[in-house]
């Protein structure tokens, strides 16, 4: 056990699974970084350094750079997975999904069903999401809602270094296609993370705190923000349960419903665009299955229905923050 960053935690999970299973391969743009050049070969380890160190340990047969051809190399992950490898491929920013989505949602996601249960497609797509990086409209989206919409995909949004390691381990061991969302603002966040491998099962939410008055369900980086809000609420005498679903697909509906049945109130915090989002999804499930327990209107704290702006002041106003959550809780309790 030692302090590790979110970046290190992910790197360690991948390295450990590569040691454990020689069929785990890693590829993506500059996942080594330096191929074909005269300088360092492990120069980048991915654009923000998450895969750095894998090339020296595992060599170029297992850590591959790619041309900028997402359809080809993400599709190659699906084809490799269906034929016996367990690839971990990187779609650098999830914003780039638009050039390769077919290989994800029509191919990898549907093989098993279309082929009558006879295919297995154990692949992980690592991808970065989220605003707050001053990266503007095409490098800041959340988009896990879109992947959650698609049957056949598992969608993971880890909220801390500990979570990231355990969920990545599970993602690599899982026999279905997994989309693993890394929040780029969190790479330097640190916490205690066990050195040994461990897997966190999918579809099991965790409660970061338990309270009586309101249930706050938050996704990814928003879990930390929700906990900050809960601290403030506590000062005002309001006690909150905070639920981190960990995976939006499968979603741990039971835990969410139990919590709402205990508290009678629900606030969902999601940095996506609001329409057809995970926030709306969770809200609607509760409105359908825990209606009787509800004592007030469900509240959603999301980004507005706009692209992500560049100017830091606007971007800061774009993302949910503790104050907005506190306000929403107050409306839910009014």
């Amino acid at each position: 056990m030692s302090k590790k960053s979110y970046r290190q935690a992910i790197n360690e999970a991948i390295a450990q699974e590569m040691r454990r299973d020689e069929n785990v391969l890693v590829w993506g743009e500059d996942n080594a970084g330096g191929t074909g050049g005269d300088g360092e070969q492990d120069a980048w380890g991915g654009v923000l350094g998450v895969t750095k160190g894998l090339l020296p340990e595992f060599g170029p047969n297992r850590v591959l750079d790619t041309p900028i051809s997402e359809s080809a190399f993400i599709g190659a992950a699906a084809g490799a997975a269906a034929t016996g490898l367990r690839p971990v491929a990187e779609l650098m920013f999830v914003d780039f999904m638009g050039v390769c989505f077919d290989q994800i949602f029509n191919q990898a996601a549907k093989f098993r069903y279309m082929f009558g249960g006879k295919a297995v497609t154990p692949m992980v797509i690592r991808t970065m999401y989220g605003a707050g990086f001053r990266a503007a409209s095409q490098h800041s989206q959340a988009l896990y809602s879109v992947f959650t919409h698609v049957p056949g995909l598992k969608v993971v949004v880890p909220s801390s270094p500990y979570e990231a390691k355990g969920l990545m381990t599970q993602a690599i061991r899982d026999d279905d296609p997994v989309i693993f969302f890394e929040n780029k603002v969190m790479y330097d966040d640190e916490e205690e993370v066990p050195d040994d491998p461990y897997a966190i099962p999918f579809g099991e939410a965790r409660l970061t705190r338990e309270g009586d008055d309101v249930t706050i369900v938050a996704i990814g980086r928003m879990v930390g923000i929700a906990n900050q809000a809960a601290d403030e609420l506590e000062k005002a005498g309001i006690s909150a349960t905070v639920v981190d679903p960990r995976t939006t697909s499968p979603l741990d509906v039971d835990t969410i419903i139990e919590c709402v049945e205990d508290t009678g109130r629900l606030v969902v915090v999601d940095e996506s665009h609001p329409r057809c989002s995970v926030a709306s999804d969770i809200s609607s499930i509760v409105a359908q299955h825990a209606f009787k327990a509800l004592k007030g209107p469900i509240q959603m704290v999301t980004a507005p229905h706009t692209p992500v702006p560049f100017a830091p002041e606007l971007e800061d106003a774009y993302v949910p923050n503790p104050a907005k959550i506190v306000d929403a809780v107050k409306v839910a309790m009014a």
């Binding site: 359809s71 599709g75 249960g117 297995v120």
Partner: protein, 321 residues
């Protein structure tokens, strides 16, 4: 690459099976027994047969919406294929895939594909598996002339070359993508495109099994030996419309009748094989009869077979969850 007598008969059987399968599906579709979007491979048999003759189960192929021929040539069970096209529970995909999604991974058949250009990226992955695991296998992506304009296909050319993968890209150029002529829609040429990505390429008459077989042998050999990807530009024709229901008014009058007369790969095979003294008419007559019986049987069985049970609607989405 000299084929044995048995191999030749087998190849002819593949072509005859494809032909009869497709002609019969055409009939049954017209009669309303078969639902859905169905794209037939009649006329193109020599391509699938000539190429897949070189392959075993360790070799992988990815097909297109026009997939029946590739499936048969790659060894998929014909009975289960027909059941699948009828949407039956005993079908190769349990009735959940249908004509455009027939697959049998155990045979190295990674699926027909409803997405034009869907296969080439997948096949790069299958080739990487073969290369990494040193199976000696190759991976082949079939695309149409129309599919050769899809970005996913073009990207795959580059990836296959850059990663030096044992891939063959087979462009089956039947002159049309739906109603649009490939003479218009394909700028440049398939051969020059291959060169653009540093790949060797070969152009071949896709009505001639022997020509296809020989050309395929060379590119497959190169791939198996670690020499990287190649492209085959196979020129051929389809005897039916784009899909069942297509009135084909975009084709010149009499074109199909002429093609059936002059460009029938089964007739051409028979002529060549007998003239070269490799087979006798009786060999092929025998196959014709056996295949006719087989197709009759599988259609009869498919008609009577039952649909998948309703609870199958929600199974097979995930391995677990």
């Amino acid at each position: 690459m000299q084929l044995s007598r048995d191999e030749l008969i087998e190849s002819y059987r593949v072509m005859r099976t494809i032909r009869d399968f497709e002609e019969r599906v055409h009939e049954e579709f017209s009669g309303g027994a078969i639902p859905g979007f169905v794209h037939l491979y009649s006329g193109e048999e020599a391509s699938a047969a000539g190429i897949c003759q070189h392959l075993s189960d360790k070799d992988k192929i990815a097909s297109t919406h026009r997939g029946h021929g590739h499936c048969i040539a790659k060894g998929c069970d014909v009975r289960q294929m027909m059941l699948e096209i009828y949407g039956r529970g005993e079908g190769l995909c349990g009735g959940k895939g249908g004509s455009m999604h027939i697959a049998d991974l155990s045979k190295g058949m990674l699926g027909a594909n409803g997405i034009v250009g869907g296969g080439p990226p997948l096949i790069c992955g299958a080739a990487l598996t073969a290369k990494y695991k040193k199976t000696g296998g190759v991976a082949i992506a079939f695309v149409g002339d129309g599919g050769s304009n899809q970005g996913t296909t073009l990207e795959s050319y580059n990836l296959a070359k850059v990663w030096n993968l044992p891939v063959i890209f087979v462009v089956e150029d039947n002159g049309y993508a739906e109603a649009t002529s490939s003479s218009w829609s394909v700028a440049g040429s398939q051969m020059d495109r291959a060169k653009g990505f540093g790949m060797p390429a070969v152009q071949v008459d896709g009505h001639d099994f022997f020509a296809v077989h020989e050309a395929a042998g060379e590119v497959i050999e190169r791939a198996r030996a670690g020499g990287g990807p190649s492209l085959m530009h196979v020129i051929l024709n389809r005897f039916f419309g784009h899909f069942e229901g297509d009135a084909m008014t975009y084709r010149a009058e009499g074109e199909i009748a002429r093609l059936r007369k002059e460009k029938d790969s089964l007739k051409i095979f028979r002529t060549n094989a007998t003239q070269a003294g490799l087979l006798e008419d009786a060999d092929m007559d025998k196959v014709d009869k056996e295949v006719a019986g087989l197709i009759d049987d599988v259609v009869k069985e498919s008609e009577k077979a039952t649909p998948p049970p309703l609870e199958k609607l929600t199974t097979d989405v995930y391995v677990n969850y």
